[in-house]
Symmetry: C2
Subunit: 336 residues, 2 copies
């Protein structure tokens, strides 16, 4: 228990970059990880070794009827016992997923992070803490791996991203359960965590046990990879941006158009060219993602002998002319 | 069969960078992959779509008695039927492993690559082809992952490294067996491939089936990651070397001593600093490997307020003085 508290305290200081005066809203689903997070942050705050806990925040996903309502009541009860306010809201995740044509998982995540912003503000919090553990990190790395990710995807979950912090990112899930049991604290089990039609759950329940059986240090190895990948990705992005400054010929005055020297792009190291293309496309079509095959198509177009060419990519049209690649948003693409 | 031949032909041209006049020695253990490689390269050569096959080479590991001798006889028979010479040699891998205090696997690999060099020369070959498949690539990525590798380790098996080429690196093991069966060709099973005390075999027989069950495209995803990691690692090494040129103050005139500006090293992006330290150490102590924790220790020493400090690492001593890190080989390290 003392080792666990010390570990969380270190993570908060070193990796989450907490500053004096920070107030943290703790996102609690009712599951063991986030409930342990609430108690641990409460304990650290009481000992003046962590930020003030501004309150608990809970999004009711309304996916499991009475179960979802019981989760919310449970979180309100933990907040009352911690003597901090609770902010909860409901969202119809199922409807959101149908409307936006995305999976339940994606809709739930988007709804969650939107809610975090508003709920944190309502509590006067500067940060939101989530209960992601090193086990989540390992599972995320494997998930990305199986989806064909490169260094960027393998970076996994960061200890801090904008105003979101993950104080438990170095803690094992099993240790958090032991901590709760030792204090006689309860938590809620979410039956959807057992649904093996969800790839993440199959990784958790089928792949991880085999992996840990073969290599007991597997979870820590995967987490270490994520940390190294974060640093590698940062260095690659910075090198790509530096290269790009001499390569991107015009970054249109408000017309959202980017021109790149094709010959120079094809001479760039492949790793940097891919990142530069991705960054240019993200400037033009925020929120759209180019896949690996799209990046290779742009590189091939840049390298080819053809003087003119044309690619329709998600949110972006790439046209080759006069030795330049011209990237424009799909809506305003000129007729070719 | 035609698809398989075409794939191998493409790999040879595009990824193995074969040149006119190249003559290839095919390393054949007797297992399905390398036997298929011999027949496929023979077929391509006969159609003038691949390099001349200079002969088959086989290292008798002498680990399995009569079985090992039967492997050698089998390979000689395949060579005779392909109408090319065979070069075989024996090595006592068990003794080598004991003498060098390394595992059987490591000793066998070292012996193999030494033998490849001499055997290729004896056949007048310019290249050696090995039977590594995309399945080996995926297993290697997982093996490195479980050992805590970063981008460099995930690069896996390259289609070409120096004079070694891997024409089957995009082929599935199952397709090679189908190819052999369709031609009525036999191969030898190596019982040590089933030994689950070897981590690689547990990955092959226990982890991969679960992984492929969850994500049917898992093998290709892992291989794609290896390809991306190769490019990422190349770009990172080149950026590290560029940074290093202004940072490495002296690269001693033959005394094998390297001095690095400590303050500048600590300001470098972490990903580049790690690679620069590794490269400097490799210059001084070839063949010795620094682990991740050694690299972090050197970075900490560089960043610390302490004016003097000292680290004993494998093959290298790092001393801090006058704002510099001085790296020297262990044998010639000055007393501190």
């Amino acid at each position: 228990m003392r080792a666990l508290l010390a570990r969380v305290g270190r993570t908060i200081r070193q990796d989450c970059r907490i500053e004096t005066g920070d107030r943290v809203a703790v996102a609690v689903s009712g599951g063991a990880d986030s409930v342990a997070l609430a108690w641990l942050l409460g304990e650290l705050a009481a000992r003046d070794r962590g930020p003030v806990v501004a309150g608990l925040i809970h999004l009711n996903h309304q996916l499991r009827g009475a179960e979802s309502d019981a989760d919310e009541a449970f979180v309100r009860d933990v907040a009352a016992r911690l003597d901090v306010p609770a902010a909860a809201a409901g969202v119809d995740v199922g409807a959101r997923a149908r409307d936006a044509h995305v999976s339940i998982e994606v809709a739930a995540r988007e709804a969650r992070y939107e809610f975090f912003e508003t709920a944190a503000s309502s509590l006067g919090a500067t940060l939101v803490a989530t209960g992601h553990t090193i086990d989540d990190q390992a599972e995320t790395v494997l998930l990305r791996l199986l989806r064909g990710a490169g260094t960027r995807g393998l970076s996994g979950i960061r200890a801090r991203r904008d105003r979101i912090i993950r104080p438990l990112i170095h803690c094992r899930r099993a240790d958090l359960r032991t901590f709760l049991r030792s204090r006689g604290e309860r938590w809620r089990e979410d039956a959807t965590n057992e649904d093996v039609s969800i790839l993440r759950n199959r990784i958790r329940h089928e792949l991880m046990p085999v992996l840990s059986g073969i290599a007991p240090g597997g979870v820590r190895a995967l987490a270490r990879l994520a940390a190294l990948a974060q640093d590698d990705e940062a260095a690659l992005m910075s090198a790509a941006t530096e290269f790009g400054s001499s390569l991107v010929l015009s970054n249109g005055a408000g017309d959202g158009r980017v021109e790149v020297d094709a010959a120079m792009l094809s001479l760039m190291p492949a790793a940097l060219a891919r990142r530069l293309i991705r960054a240019c496309a993200a400037d033009i079509a925020p929120g759209r993602q180019l896949a690996a095959r799209h990046l290779e198509a742009v590189r091939s177009l840049a390298a080819s002998d053809k003087l003119v060419g044309h690619l329709d990519l998600p949110g972006v049209v790439v046209a080759k002319r006069d030795g330049r690649l011209v990237l424009t948003p799909v809506a305003s693409a000129p007729a070719c």
